[in-house]
Each structure stands twice: as C-alpha cells, then as structure tokens.
Amino acid sequence: MFDVSTFRRQFAFFRHHHDWVYLDNAATMHKPDAVTEAVTGFYQQNNSNVHRGAHSLSQQATTQFEQARHTIARYINAQHDHEVIFTSGATAGLNQLAFGLMHTVLKPGDRILLTQLEHHANIVPWQLHCQRHGVIIDVVPLNNERQLDLNAYQQLLALKPKLVSFSHISNVLGHIQPVQQMVTLAKAAGAITVVDGAQGVVYQQPDMQQLDCDFYVFSGHKLYGPTGIGVLYGKTPWLEQLTPLYGGGEMIDSVSFVNTTFNTLPFRLEAGTPNIAGVIGLAAAINWLQQYNNTQIIEHKSLLLNAFFQGARQIKGIAILSMPVHNAGIVALNVDGEHPSDVADILNQQQVAVRAGQHCAMPLFDYLALSGAVRVAFAAYNTLDDVNQCLLALEQAVEILTA
C-alpha cells in the first residue's frame, strides 16, 4: 500500500511549507532529499569535469556520470547507454531533433505530422526549420472527448509523412494518448516516430524497446530531478544521422579549418561541459523512485483525481475541460465567464499553487475557442487534504468573482 505521508516527508519543501498546497506539478515537481543530497554531495565531494581530466578526481566524476547514464538507460529500457543523450530538457531535445533531421532526413516537399494538443516545444522547433526547408506540417485534430481523433490520424498517415511527433500526455488536459497504438500505426506507414514524454515520463516508466519509437524526449525536473537536465533518447542509427545542433568541445574527433570530424555517440551530440550535477541528480531521482510501486502511485493519483472531479462538479459555475478517464492527473478548468488568471490569483491568496493561461499550447486553446484555463496538476506527494483545500479555495474564488 502506498503511504503518501511517508513519501511526502522525504521532500524538504513540504517539511518547511505546511501552508502551501502545491498543485503546479505539470510545470515542475518538488525534489526529494535523495536528489538534493546527490547534487550537493557531488559538488561537495566529487566535483570535477568529466571525460578530460588528467587526474583521478576527473576519472571518478566520469565514472559517476557514465554510471548515471547507465541508470537512466536501464530505467527507460534503452538498448544501449549511448542512446541516452543529455540535453537541458525536453525542449532542447526537440530542437536538436528538428535541426538535426532537416536536410539529412527531411527534404523539401516532405510532410511531418504533429497534433492539435502539442506544447509549443513540439511545434515551434519544427516550424522554424520546416519553413526554411520547405517541409509541410499536418496536424491531427481532436475528437469530441478532446482526445486525438485516431481516424483522422490514420487518414493523415496515408499522406506518408516522413516523421510523426506527439506527446504522450497533454500538458493542458492531462489526457493520455494511445502512444503505443500511434507509434505502431506510424511505423506501419513508414514514418519516424518522436514521442514527447515531458508529462508522460512521471506517469509511467517508459519502455523504449516495447514502445519502439525512434526518439523520446523528457525533462528531469518533471521527474523529481533537477532543472536544466533532460534526455533525448534515440535509436542508434537515427542518432547517427542527426546533425549536431551545438558544436564545441568533447563532441569532436578532430578539428581543422578545412574539416571537422565528430566523436562517437553519445558525445557527438553533447557539446561542451555537460550538466554533471544535473545528470547525477536525475539518476538519483530515478534510483529513489524505483523503490516505489508505480501501479500504487497511479492508484493514489487517480484517487486524488476522482475526489477532485467529484468535488469540482458540485461547485456551481465551474466548467471542467478535462475528462476523468484516461487522465494522468491534470485538470483544466474555468470559472464561467471569468478570466483564469483571476481564479489563479484568488487561489494564490489562499496558498494554493496552480497555473493559469494557455500553458504554452495556444493552438489547443484556439481549437477549444477559449482564452485559457486554470490547470490543477496532481503528483504522488499530494494528499486528499490538498484536494479538499483546493476545492474550498475554488469555492471561495467562485464566491468572490460572482458576488
């Protein structure tokens, strides 16, 4: 049985801030002691640059760094450690992909396929490069349940896109997309598959060999890890075809002003000194998380989600945009006729932390014909008491706004 109070006690933030109800978890999560101690421990005990020092301190740091890569590769069940490329986050991973595939793989006149509910990070990098290289972007629409329309998806796949890129979980609505089915369909249509796991990685341990996508990106800070570290996973043959987005140290084999040859994977895609402490912190987060049973965590979160849905539906004047089924624990809602930032502002006065606005998903809000929404995002460390306090704060918001 998952014991939320024991779990929660491992977070210094909650030991110090009893007064905050933190429900902005889709933006970033709090860090357990295991992570902050690993990061501090590295700086205090082992700090050295990796892969280059002529001294044993650097060798120790390198061992720890590569061990961390191994931990992460095992966690996502990558076939090889070198398929884990460290980036600054999911956004950086997608930018590397859009830049790195253009020209070498994506040619003028090719099509790629995105979806209506993508985060800007899975739209803008493609747009930047597609416009310059004459690559056409198609968009999968939503159905009435605000899930991706799989019929339309299949019709768009018939246009033979070279690449399909979609998120596992909508960062606004929390809806879980049928990623396995979507990857299989895309592969059958001959497309390269990219999965944005920014919100998905904390919901479900990703299994690269089972999912069989070509690329997968995620951020460490949405998986209990530090900010500024993320992973771009790719299958070896595809990673080898990527043009590096950054040039610099470590990623080269030899440099002259006539020609530069690149290092092997993963180093050719990791220019410059990496975020060593971030990598170690992320591996610590994963090691720590693995002592828990994720099925029990999912059950706990759905308990919170159901309690929230039940309570919120009884508050007159609240319109819920998310569906309770196939939902990873995120609820987008509005108070009828009110701007979401007013609602979030009143919640903030009651020390309930949520996000308001368009959540970097403007195309989704255009589609929904809404100017924004309040987003409540639950994590494993949230409690039923958090749910109740948020509901009370929402009642208060409705009361003040509609007075």
Partner: protein
C-alpha cells in the same frame, strides 16, 4: 463611443476611485475585502471598445492581456488614460495605478514613484510578481508616457 467621451468618462471614474476606493483599500482588513474592492474598480471604468484594442495599445502579461490608451493634453500638459484588461483583479490594480497618475504633468509623471505608492497601499507584492500578471509592464508603459511625443 468617441475618444473624447471615453477619456472624460475614464477621468471621472479614476477621480472617484482615488477619492473613495484608495482609503478603503488601505483599510481593508483581509485579502477578501481587498479583492472585492479591486473587482468593483474594474467595473467602474468604461471598457475600451473592441475595435479600439489596437496592437500598439496592448500590454502583454503572460496570463492575460491589457490595453492602455494614452492622451497628452499638450496645452495644459496633462496626461490622461483609458484602460482595459481581460482579468478583473489585474484591471483593478491597474486602475489604482492610473488613478494615482491621472492628470499629471510630464515632469510629475517622470518623477512618480509607483513602488512607494503601492507600498503605502499594501499592494507592493503585486509589483514584484513575475511578468505573469503584466503589472510591471503596465507600470513601465505608463512611465514611458512622460516622454511620449
């Protein structure tokens, strides 16, 4: 509604806010009372007609949009404004900003210290918030009006 009428109506509303609402805000015992007042303020200002919400009047926050129309009466050297915002609490806070500077001369506006005034009204935390609510952007826009041609 023509521009002159809009400016005149806003001027009257801002004067009323300065006389009545500012003391109430200062004395508000709890945030609920303060918020109820702030939301009333937004309603007192005449809205900017949709067709006048031009791009150059837009003051962007991350979460909501606001518009500031500025008019400088050069003969009398007085600055007047019209305000609108999508969010009501933000609009109330912006109305307070404006009632403090409404009718000022260019040199008064240039010297105006918003931080100090908001501090006295116990509203300063709103200015130090991140760009989210657009208040700091609005404060900068108002200030820039002192040197506008």
């Amino acid at each position: 509604m023509n521009l002159e009428q809009l400016l005149a109506d806003t001027d009257i509303a801002l004067q009323a806010i300065q006389q009545q609402a500012l003391p109430d805000i200062k004395q508000a015992k709890d945030w609920q009372t303060k918020y109820r007042i702030l939301m009333q303020l937004g309603k007192q200002l005449p809205p900017l007609p949709e067709k006048m919400k031009q791009q150059e009047l837009l003051v962007k926050g991350c979460e909501s949009r606001a518009w500031l129309l500025h008019y400088h009466d050069k003969k009398q050297d007085k600055h007047f404004f019209v305000l609108d915002s999508e969010a009501r609490i933000v609009k109330g806070l912006m109305a307070i900003m404006l009632c403090l500077v409404n009718g000022m001369s260019s040199s008064e506006l240039a010297k105006f210290n918003l931080n100090q005034q908001f501090d006295e009204l116990h509203l300063k935390p709103y200015l130090s918030q991140s760009r989210g609510n657009g208040l700091t952007a609005m404060a900068a826009r108002i200030k820039a009006c002192s040197s506008a041609k």
